[in-house]
């Protein structure tokens, strides 16, 4: 390895270290956004006696989209490990599956949870105007969905670049950033799902 | 060390004491509370503000005097343009002192503040409830227990502890009679409470103290504090 190349690797490592710190600081910042939404949920979803309540929602939808999102995180991890070990095909396939599952999650949220598209076999939906239940559900899932959409866009960009051999074993910060972002969005859902679907007495 | 600090400390110390008194006097003139103490709560709050003014005067004098003294005594005189100051960059004892002493002062003022708060919000035995309703941009009052009627002026007996049970129809408002000192917001959807005991007979003005839209500045109502017998007569008048 020439001295110049070694220098370039060193520069890349320094830059990646800074990038990584920046990314985590960004997550730290976002913590306050999602935390604010969670606090809103626990402040508004209480009855007169101060008991925590929740709306009656279709538990199957919640469980399925959660499983789909968790599974996508597994493939995202596979994808990152693959590129770090130079297995390019593996990397692209896993990334593709992650993106696909992300889209399935989004469709699940939009069609079944929000009911934006009318389907004959779904009867009743809470809308955004339905009091605090509607406001909080749409506020939380909406903000989360915006992050998932960004994440899917990120995956598409990384996938396209991956096909053009932009990433190597040593240099794949783009993949790493995409992966930790995806895991982060996933992690947020792990807190949101029980807050919306599980905690408190169900009220109709 | 070139400077005789002991002498400087002495002069500055004397000046701090003098200026504490001077600033206190200036602040007393600059912060004129309304002359009428119209409620049992007024005196306690005025005293508390007075105590804080002393704190402002004392701490203000301390910093301003040392700063002003340094400006005069430690200025670079002609011929000293290239000179450097005395070399010292810290003193643990001092730092700890001016961390701990303010901490103690804060604790004292915290205790005083809590006591006064407890005093001005304490429930009384024989409270009379008045229902206050705020809406853009007027006030309505009801007297539960005295009959079914609503008024646009507030009439209450003197020396009678009041429990104001307040609600807002449209947006936030705030109940404030300057002479009574205390203040409380009215919030749509919840009932807020304010305790006050008028002690001065007279005519006062209720002003909305929370921006509530176009005519917020003019959201006023007359408040009359009257003798008990006048109040009873007024109630009878309303019932007719």
């Amino acid at each position: 390895m020439s001295a110049l190349a070694a220098d370039a690797i060193e520069v890349y490592r320094t830059a990646t270290r800074n990038n990584r710190m920046g990314m985590w600081l960004f997550f730290f910042s976002e913590l306050f956004l999602f935390g604010g939404l969670l606090i809103t949920r626990f402040a508004l979803w209480v009855d007169e006696d101060g008991h925590i309540i929740r709306p009656e929602l279709d538990q199957n939808v919640g469980l399925i989209v959660t499983v789909v999102l968790l599974a996508s995180s597994y493939f995202m991890n596979r994808s990152e490990v693959a590129i770090a070990n130079g297995r390019k095909r593996d990397f692209l396939v896993s990334l593709w599956i992650t993106g696909f599952l992300g889209v399935v999650f989004l469709l699940g949220v939009v069609i079944f949870e929000w009911g934006l598209i009318q389907l004959p076999f779904i009867e009743h939906h809470i809308g955004p105007t339905d009091g605090v239940f509607g406001a909080v559900i749409f506020g939380m899932t909406g903000m989360h969905a915006i992050h998932v959409i960004t994440g899917v866009a990120f995956i598409v960009v990384v996938w396209r670049n991956g096909r053009r051999d932009v990433y190597t074993e040593e240099r794949h910060w783009g993949v790493e950033a995409c992966a930790i972002y995806w895991h982060y969005v996933d992690l947020v859902w792990i807190f949101f799902y029980p807050a919306i679907y599980l905690i408190g007495h169900a009220v109709h | 060390m070139r400077s005789n600090y002991r002498r400087h400390f002495l002069y500055a110390g004397i000046l701090v004491v003098v200026f504490t008194l001077v600033i206190q006097w200036i602040l007393d003139l600059s912060l004129p509370l309304p002359a009428i103490q119209g409620s049992a709560q007024s005196a306690a709050i005025d005293n508390l503000i007075g105590q804080h003014v002393w704190l402002i005067a004392g701490a203000g004098a301390l910093v301003l005097v040392i700063m002003g003294y340094s400006i005069v005594a430690f200025r670079a005189r002609p011929g000293e343009e290239d000179e450097e100051g005395d070399y010292f960059h810290g003193h643990y004892g001092l730092e700890i002192a001016w961390t701990v002493i303010p901490l103690i002062v804060v604790a004292i003022y915290g205790v005083i503040g809590t006591q006064v708060l407890a005093q001005v919000t304490a429930p009384q035995d024989n409270e009379m409830t008045v229902e206050v309703e705020g809406l853009q941009w007027s006030w309505r009052f009801a007297y539960p227990g005295h009959g079914e009627f609503q008024t646009t002026e507030m009439v209450v007996p003197v020396n009678q502890p009041l429990l104001l049970s307040m609600s807002a129809v449209d947006v936030l408002h705030s109940f404030w009679v300057v002479e009574w000192r205390v203040k409380q917001d009215l919030v749509p959807g919840i009932v807020t409470e304010l305790r006050v005991t008028p002690t001065e007979v007279g005519e006062f003005q209720l002003r909305c103290a929370e921006l509530c839209g176009l005519r917020h500045a003019y959201m006023l109502a007359d408040v009359r504090v009257v003798l008990q017998e006048d109040f009873d007569a007024w109630i009878n008048e309303q019932l007719e």
Partner: protein
């Protein structure tokens, strides 16, 4: 020529983007079977698309778009090759010094716009009754004044931090230069939306925009919410950048307790901006969606709670106050040793007190809401926490006067402003505990006393130190000295005028003058209230005049001022060890720290340049 400027392109793109966004929203509504026109939704989508179109037009995302296409873009520093050098100040440029100046100039501009709004309604308040300003106009101007100057302060803080931090720690640039440019430019569409809201009916609930009033008013609120979203995004990204820069890009030997003290202030500030800003974003987003989509977060009809907004809002907006003042306090700590010719007294205590203020600042938001109707008992912990802020603030004051004690003080304009800042911030700080104590706040809350208090803290914590910083670093930025006589004139007009104004505001407040009213009862304060208001108005106009003198001084001195030497103040800080004005690549060689930053009176240096490494620039 004009079309070559990124700014012009950005503005055109923003206009086009706004229209496009509105059309898209309408078409979407039509396709979804809704009525074509819903101003709330249409303006929100338009404003949002317009804002990001501006960023595209100005060129702030060009490199990132290239990255998305898998192309690496080298970071080129220096003036544009095919255009005059001055155009870089109106286009996307990645040099932190250019960005710092862009921030600062925009800040001064917004400060003057915001100040002018204040002068208009101050003139109205000079007498009781209505004179020339309608009630509705007054209610809109107060909110607009508030947000315009808050944006100005955030920009000014960003300006000082961006220009100074890399120079002070001897870094070539910020950690993320492109993000830095993005964070600046996003303020421009934000500011435009803010000012444009005035043409959509404005927002008449004051800068705090409390619901339900804010969810009922005109569509101007939506532009306010979007504007603050953009400005907040700038805060978050800018602070993230500063944190990484300070934490990772220091030269050899500069441990955290050897950085110039201003960087500590920026560190503490950035921690607040990074986190708390999300809260106001959340609060305003809820307000926005309640208006646009009918999501009833704050609507009591469906179980919503108006007080929740206040909690989230103040969770940002109280720490935000420390964002406004901590950098200014850092400037005071930075300048005092230079002009006292003495080491900074208790460096570590001052550094950590900034951090302490920032952290305690997260636990005190409830003191804005003592009368709001939340739990009675919670008011006491909020009172105690708020009073505790006095302790680290006191440490700063005492350390400052101890720094001056025994020095050899000199009084050029920057030092005068530093002293002015201390005195004014003292007034603001000391009037804090009286408001922090619940019982006295029950009287003073929402009166002009509060107005006097926070104007004193913001002038003492931002405006005065900002002026000091401008005069102090003017030679380093332009290579020329400012006019000392005009600088002193500015100081000797502004300081007494400010004292008069601020104390005047407090006086009418204790007399019983409410905040945010266009008209007041002239019988208050024994009939003396009108005279106090007149004085306050005159003082406010004098402050405006003094700012104009400063602008004149800066503009003319940049052209005809005396050439400045590299280090006119004999400062030890790194930025004064390089030529004035600062060259494109600030440091010819990497720095090495060999001493303490404020050891005035000692022979040894703070930093030296490692000449053996000359030409080796840090990479990104």
């Amino acid at each position: 020529m004009l079309m070559q400027l990124g700014l012009t392109r950005g503005l055109i793109y923003q206009a086009a983007g706004t229209v496009l966004g509105m059309v898209v929203a309408m078409v979407w509504r039509l396709l979804a079977g809704m009525e074509l026109w819903d101003q709330e939704v249409v303006f929100v989508v338009g404003g949002l698309v317009g804002g990001f179109s501006f960023m595209w037009g100005v060129g702030a995302i060009d490199d990132w778009l290239e990255w998305c296409r898998g192309k690496a873009t080298p970071l080129v520093h220096g003036p544009p090759r095919d255009k005059p050098a001055w155009t870089r100040y109106f286009s996307t440029d990645y040099n932190h010094k250019v960005i710092g100046i862009q921030y600062s100039v925009t800040s001064l501009l917004m400060l003057m716009i915001g100040g002018s709004f204040a002068l208009i309604f101050r003139a109205e308040l000079a007498q009781a009754d209505l004179q020339f300003l309608g009630i509705g106009m007054y209610n809109k101007l107060i909110g607009l004044h508030g947000w315009a100057v808050i944006a100005a302060i955030l920009l000014g803080v960003g300006g000082m931090a961006n220009y100074l931090v890399p120079l002070m720690i001897g870094a070539e640039d910020m950690a993320f230069p492109r993000l830095n440019a993005f964070a600046f430019w996003i303020n421009v569409p934000g500011a435009l939306l803010l000012l444009a809201s005035a043409f959509l009916g404005g927002f008449d609930a004051g800068w705090t925009a409390y619901p339900p009033l804010s969810t009922q008013g005109s569509v101007g609120y939506q532009f306010l919410f979007l504007a603050i979203y953009f400005v907040g995004l700038s805060s978050i990204l800018g602070s993230l950048n500063l944190l990484v820069t300070i934490l990772t890009m220091r030269p050899k030997g500069m441990d955290l307790f050897r950085i110039p003290i201003f960087c500590w202030a920026v560190l503490a500030t950035s921690l607040i901006q990074l986190t708390a800003t999300q809260a106001i974003g959340t609060a305003f987003l809820m307000g926005l969606s309640e208006r646009a989509l009918g999501m009833g977060f704050f609507d009591p009809e469906g179980g919503g709670n108006p007080i929740l907004f206040q909690h989230i809002f103040w969770f940002y907006s109280h720490p935000a106050v420390y964002v406004f003042v901590l950098p200014g306090l850092g400037i005071i700590s930075e300048l005092l040793p230079v002009f006292s010719r003495k080491p900074l007294f208790g460096y570590r205590w001052i550094a950590l007190s900034s951090l302490a203020i920032a952290l305690v600042g997260f636990l005190v938001w409830g003191h804005h809401m003592f009368t709001s109707g939340y739990s009675q008992y919670l008011r006491i912990p909020f009172m105690i926490a708020t009073l505790l802020v006095a302790v680290p603030t006191g440490v700063k004051f005492f350390s400052w006067v101890a720094t001056m004690w025994g020095g050899r003080l000199r009084f050029p304009t920057p030092m005068l402003f530093t002293l002015g800042a201390i005195s004014v911030f003292l007034l603001g700080g000391l009037t804090g505990p009286i408001l922090a104590t619940v019982a006295s706040d029950l009287y003073l809350h929402d009166t002009y006393f509060v107005v006097g208090h926070f104007h004193a803290t913001l002038f003492g914590g931002f405006v005065f130190p900002f002026c000091a910083a401008i005069y102090f670093w003017f030679p380093k930025i332009t290579g020329r000295m400012y006019n000392e006589t005009l600088g002193k004139l500015h100081f000797y007009i502004m300081t007494p005028a400010f004292w008069l104004m601020s104390i005047g505001q407090m006086t009418v407040g204790t007399m019983g003058m409410r905040r945010r009213i266009v008209d007041y009862d002239p019988t208050l304060g024994g009939g003396l209230i009108e005279a106090r208001h007149l004085e306050t108005t005159i003082a406010a106009f004098l402050i405006g005049l003094s700012i104009l003198i400063m602008i004149y001084n800066l503009v003319t001195s940049a052209e005809i001022g005396v050439r400045a030497p590299a280090n006119p103040w004999r400062s030890r800080s790194p930025e004064w060890q390089i030529p004035s004005p600062v060259p494109e690549h600030s440091f010819a060689a990497p720095l090495q720290v060999v001493g303490e930053p404020y050891d005035y009176g000692l022979e040894e240096e703070y930093v030296v340049m490692d000449e053996s490494q000359a030409g080796h620039t840090q990479a990104h």
